[in-house]
Symmetry: C2
Subunit: 464 residues, 2 copies
């Protein structure tokens, strides 16, 4: 008996999947209890794959998926179609599937999960989030007897490389993006990464598993890093912070209910049920926070659960071999099930919690304003915050050092930086909008959220 | 249909298991597809468990395990017997088992695994290593399609708390142990923790899973922390290092074979096959190494695999709730299998690699000697290293500052610290023994291994 695999796609990841299957054939057979054999590899241009045995190559993925001698379909092409149709075709014909397709899972994971459930086959997708780092299996299985309250961290290697490069060299965004592209950390069209969509897809997948609630990409508030400047990075450093693109998924407690998590980031209205929040944005975090030292294209994710407490997972979030490692892990699980009978855990989305819009979530802002240097500026600015119930944690005004003639000072202007305490994001956003409209505010230079303060993280040197 | 659980033991961990089962009954039923019910709880003194429904309590664990209405046995008592007999009895009567028993698994895991295999039932033990941190499932399942080369880190909370306290306060070992006991981080008899046996059991379990090779506690070289002094901690800090009790499991490449891992810590003789090493000892590691910032009772484990690269797992390594989280995760997995049919992955020990004794493994020593301050001392000491092929990386002599009369200097003595390059541990140990016998050496003050240098770890600030 053998387990026969149809591989869809043979790019960076697919090539490594083929290599790992060949290099480890003996070990895999011992671990599975039967050999894993490649039945075929569907590609667009067979000529471009000299390393793959030619008889395996085909340009007809649908025909490959339809074959009776195929047990498992592994999809590493990406994109919504034709991947979705091919995977559904595979599932409906009783084949188990392993995929790395974050965009598809975040947009329409429900369809795949329901089809897999109905057909009684496995659907695994560890490789869709955080590359080599075992993350989905721990969330779905190891913490299946616990209540996860928060999953947050760095899940996109491209943007982390760019922000790390900006911090290391003082370079601006465009220059760092260029370096990332040159070194292969960014694709020719980096939009999905730099605009946060990749991280948002991953956040949707993480939130779905963590909270047993279907969360799609559309539910995830998403801001990228295009507007992060070298000045922002320097300002952050001056505050003892780094800037990272964070994916944050957390439970938001309902009002009037005891929550074991306590202060998990939101305040519900009276009688409001528990809900969840999922968002992606660049944020300042203390340099002492472990996430601040995650450099280059590495990923790191913090998980908090009621009984387990705080966990952290760290490793390579992207790349051919790391992603292929995750694919192979799922493939062995699926193959073991084909050999021994049985299935992996089904999707669990029974909780069906509402998804909180970003406006309702408590966040903190770091706002940098260019202001006129004259009487009443601070009062006007502070008034806008107070008017919306936003408490200020820190203020710093610089640049108004020139004394002397009022007109000279006025011309020069000053910079006013405000760091708030936690407040509903909508109140903070409304305050910024109002500030932009004030006469005395010449411009809003920068708005960045602040995370990781005031959360009793661990003894990894983070202030509680 | 329900899944009925017999719980053996109701101490710190068992109490939390009961609480989690009750508090999350609805969620667990939704996730499993059937309710999980406690059939009985075996304890020694029923009067001591007022929080458990009295009708569940029994003082006859064997009778509880024998009941036909029990599907799963969860063992959180610890120790070799009667746990082994009870678990074997459970397995042989077709019940799946979940255990946290590191000592039993490290000493006789093979017997349990073979019995579980023969009976076709699940055997899970995530809670036996690293508390709440999902570690065994990732090693066994997520990395099942990869080749793990190294698993190393901090796996004992008691000793990590003690060493952290010594580093923070400058306290000596005895004082730090007292504080640990007072705060509940150390048991009344701390031997298993401070002598390294607990970490060694965990190393055996980790190595077995990582290398598909049966490794028992007896195979693990084990040194504890009783001999670590405040002076050692200070010396380490002076070198930019911290002292941690490390568990290190790694492949040792055979000679003449290409190894993807490269330099994984050992040199095989010509034609020698690949082997594995498992050891526990206190060691100096650079303060910049992520493990150095793991404080208090937290655990952290680095895993290296050929395709995945470097991974790190971090979290609470002990405690009632964290350990219970791991137990519950396994219990849900087992319950899902009972409901849906199927089994988890069987033990995989097919590789049967030889276990390398510590003597053959390349390590580095930090040796602190009290020496006579006179002519020829350095030459004599250096000669012992050279004679055994041990290369010296750094030397520092202090205390011989007093100039003047030879007799005065001789009386005062000096301290000589030598840090070696990598060499077979047996050569290093033999050198130390020879040094102790030299006239000019008044005493060997301290010998500590050095780890984490020269290993290209990551961009977490560690020098390659």
């Amino acid at each position: 008996m053998s387990v026969r695999v149809a591989l869809l796609g043979c790019g960076t990841v697919g090539t490594e999947v083929v290599r790992l299957l060949e290099d480890q054939a003996g070990d895999l057979a011992a671990r599975v209890g039967a050999p894993i054999e490649l039945a075929g590899v569907a590609v667009r241009r067979p000529g471009r794959h000299p390393g793959v045995r030619q008889e395996l190559l085909t340009t007809d993925p649908a025909a490959l998926v339809a074959r009776d001698d195929v047990d498992v379909v592994v999809e590493v092409v990406g994109g919504i179609e034709p991947a979705r149709s091919l995977l559904l075709q595979a599932i409906k014909s009783g084949k188990s599937v392993v995929t790395a397709n974050k965009a598809l899972l975040a947009e329409d994971g429900a369809t795949l999960a329901e089809a897999a459930d109905a057909a009684g086959v496995d659907l695994y997708y560890e490789a869709s989030v955080a590359g080599a780092i075992p993350l989905l299996r721990p969330l779905r299985e190891s913490l299946a007897g616990d209540r996860i309250t928060r999953v947050a961290g760095i899940v996109n290697g491209t943007t982390n490389f760019i922000l790390s490069a900006m911090a290391t060299s003082g370079a601006g965004y465009a220059e760092a993006l260029e370096e990332a592209t040159r070194l292969g950390y960014a694709e020719a069209d980096p939009t999905a990464d730099v605009d946060g969509y990749d991280a948002a897809s991953k956040a949707a997948i993480l939130a779905t598993i963590a909270f047993h609630t279907r969360v799609t990409a559309a539910d995830v508030h998403c801001e990228g890093i295009r507007t992060v400047t070298a000045a922002d990075i320097a300002a952050a450093e001056g505050l003892g912070c780094a800037i990272k693109l964070l994916a944050i998924c957390e439970r938001v407690p309902g009002a009037g209910r005891g929550t074991a998590a306590g202060g998990a980031g939101g305040v519900g209205e009276l009688g409001a049920p528990e809900s969840v929040s999922a968002r992606v944005y660049p944020a300042m975090i203390p340099l002492s926070h472990p996430l601040a030292s995650v450099g280059e294209a590495f990923n790191a994710v913090f998980v908090e659960a009621d009984a387990a407490g705080q966990l952290m997972f760290y490793g390579q979030g992207a790349g051919g071999a790391p992603t292929a490692s995750a694919v192979l892990g799922d493939l062995v699980a699926v193959a073991r099930n084909r050999v021994g009978g049985g299935r992996g855990p089904r999707e669990s989305a029974y909780a069906s919690l509402p998804v909180r819009p970003i406006g309702d979530v408590l966040t903190r802002y770091h706002v940098s304003l260019e202001v006129a240097d004259r009487t009443g500026v601070l009062s006007a600015v502070a008034g806008e915050f107070a008017r919306r119930g936003v408490s200020i944690a820190a203020v710093r005004q610089t640049g108004g050092e020139a004394d002397g003639e009022q007109s000279a000072r006025e011309q020069q202007g000053a910079r006013l930086v405000v760091v708030t305490h936690g407040a509903p994001d909508s109140a903070l956003a409304a305050t910024v909008e109002a500030l932009a409209g004030l006469d005395v505010v010449r411009g809003v230079e920068s708005v960045l959220r602040v995370e990781g303060l005031g959360r009793p993280v661990s003894t990894l040197g983070v202030a509680g």
